[in-house]
Subunit: 377 residues, 2 copies
């Protein structure tokens, strides 16, 4: 951390979360080739895109990546700008709370005022310029007082697969961008509740992007999950020492397996809006979490009826066929009388499902795993 | 034709028709890799199976193959037992009448009493032993008088894709096998007529297998299609001469483009049962014409719900999926929530359709052809 780039006079350290298990985009994604390290859209891999979006905001020497043992080496290879010391592989997956908090405890020792930005590495943002503007505003807001800033996506459907942010009163604009107080974080709703959220108008999807200073996050961890705070302090104290790997491997698994939303944000927001220091900024930069083959189809298509041919197919002949997604590198694809299918071909596997069922691909991966076919995991 | 094998004292010359265009099993089948030269079931290719079934009945030196320029070389390679002189490539596809009749005119010059058997090379017969018994009876029947023998398949559904044989009174048994007089050959019926045929009980599907002596067939050709007879006589007269290829290429295209059913059998049967010399024997040896991916699925499955994995796939994981046919050599296949699909993968193409629509694969091939993608034809 010798060089630093500042955002409005504030030191900014992006923390990229890259702990995928490679199930949603199976058979393209595998444990050691999770979505983050694939180029699902465009030339660069998703984690390379994630870093590229942050280039104007932070120096690579201030970027951290929290990943797992399966992806560590390929990430170090894909992100040569980042110090390998900043790519940490969790000894055991413990969800997002320990991952986010670990970065905060590491930075707290050196520069507690530094604003941390938590960034999933497997989402797409169509408008990079707007992304930078919103993050810049978020860093500014997070740096003043002890604020927590979350980015919320305006919902377009009654989605039951995301957590929601219930927004309260409008707060001050930041760099011309309207912030809102946050009333409550809400878990993934059932269909009925999701409809209510959509109708209400003041609910946003939780994008998984958060901004807060190291000291604000560590304080929140100490308050809401004190045992986790103790554990992470031990790990942070060992960082840079000879026995770091050993301490990390021994201590980290002791952390509760819990998301940052449950561990910190819901508890913090439960104090009530008037006591809450949580703000929401609009993630209005073409966010898409690419959560399934169906959402990749949605991202790549122009209209719902479009047949999307992905992965450098060499031609398409379609007769009475619409709304299909096919990944078949180097092949010409012929579709006859089929609708809404998802077909994905890799050198060793062929997945055939529907857009509707593609969120259940993890069930296939589970069956493959249980059968002992680790070559396909 | 130095050696001969005799069936009940009769010389028997099988004529294998192998003029496929390679559309029904696209993308596995191509113009130069038509169904006949593929191993759609079992180790041997379909034309090798066809020859193997005839091994006990005829000497390879008495076997003829009528094919096209695309398939000629691969057939010569696949059937080394047969003299390359007996593998004739039509200069232009002219349907089955000229192909069948050509063999008769060739044999008439040397041994007019020889019984010719016409055998499509792209059907399967599950029971080889029974097949040989029925053919043997057919040869015997064809050799006595000027009889024409056709093999009819007992229909199991109101199929509109086949021609039908309307059977009349029972004739004498031959080697214990019940023969019937043939009343009429009937073209491919519409759905309503097909239902009537099925209900009537005396209709059989036309298997495309015919037996008659060379002199009987040439006589019928001279009677019903005299111009074709003249043309074929010229070609037969040139056989073995230096200019045969030239004569064949010049004359053969003059033949009417017509099936043996239309040109000879329907006309002969129209004379009425009392004047007809046409007999039907039962093709009760597990006949299947493998006319589409759907009928291959039907042939390979145990129950309709079975997922059939073909082409040495390396595994199957199926969740809420049934009745699918997948050809994906070397791959593990995962099916999730799909039914009745046909998916066929080759190194350069991927076909995705349904069992219901698989008889329309020729429409895809037509579109591929019209687009100029001859590499896929």
């Amino acid at each position: 951390m010798s060089k630093t780039k500042e955002v409005g006079g504030v030191r900014f350290a992006p923390v990229i979360l890259a702990g995928g298990s490679g199930t949603r985009f199976w058979p393209r994604s595998r444990r050691a080739r999770a979505k983050q390290v694939l180029s699902l859209e465009g030339e660069r891999t998703m984690i390379q895109e994630t870093l590229a979006r942050l280039e104007s905001l932070a120096d690579p020497s201030d970027v951290w990546v929290i990943t797992n043992g399966w992806l560590h080496d390929v990430i170090v290879e894909q992100l040569p700008q980042i110090s390998a010391q900043h790519v940490l592989a969790e000894p055991l997956a413990r969800n997002t709370a320990p991952a986010c908090a670990l970065a905060a405890f590491l930075l707290e020792r050196e520069a507690p005022e530094t604003v941390l930005g938590i960034f999933p590495s497997d989402h797409v943002m169509a408008n990079t310029k707007r992304f930078a503007e919103v993050i810049e505003a978020g860093v500014k807001l997070a740096a003043s007082g002890e604020n927590i800033v979350v980015l919320g996506v305006k919902p377009t459907r009654a989605e039951t697969g995301y957590g929601y942010i219930e927004q309260g009163a409008a707060a001050d604009k930041v760099n011309g961008i309207q912030a809102h107080h946050v009333k409550r974080f809400r878990e993934k709703p059932n269909a009925e509740t999701a409809e209510q959220f959509l109708a209400a108008g003041n609910f946003a999807w939780n994008s998984g992007i958060f901004l807060w200073s190291a000291k604000t996050l560590t304080a929140a961890v100490r308050e809401h999950v004190p045992e986790m705070a103790e554990t992470l302090e031990k790990i942070a104290a060992a960082y840079g020492a000879k026995d770091f790997a050993e301490v990390f491997a021994r201590e980290y698994p002791k952390c509760e397996n819990i998301s940052i939303d449950y561990a910190i944000l819901e508890r913090q927001s439960a104090k009530g809006e008037s006591h809450s220091n949580i703000y929401c900024l609009p993630a209005d930069f073409g966010w898409n979490d690419l959560g399934s083959w169906a959402s990749l189809h949605e991202h790549l298509r122009d209209t719902d009826a479009d047949n999307v041919m992905d992965g450098a197919t060499t031609g398409l002949f379609a007769i009475e066929a619409s709304g299909n997604y096919v990944y078949a590198p180097g092949k010409t694809v012929a579709l006859l009388g089929v609708e809404g299918l998802v077909v994905v071909e890799t050198p060793d596997a062929l997945l055939i499902t529907t857009r509707e069922r593609s969120q259940d691909v993890s069930k296939i991966v589970k069956a493959v795993h249980e059968s002992g076919r680790e070559d396909l995991i």
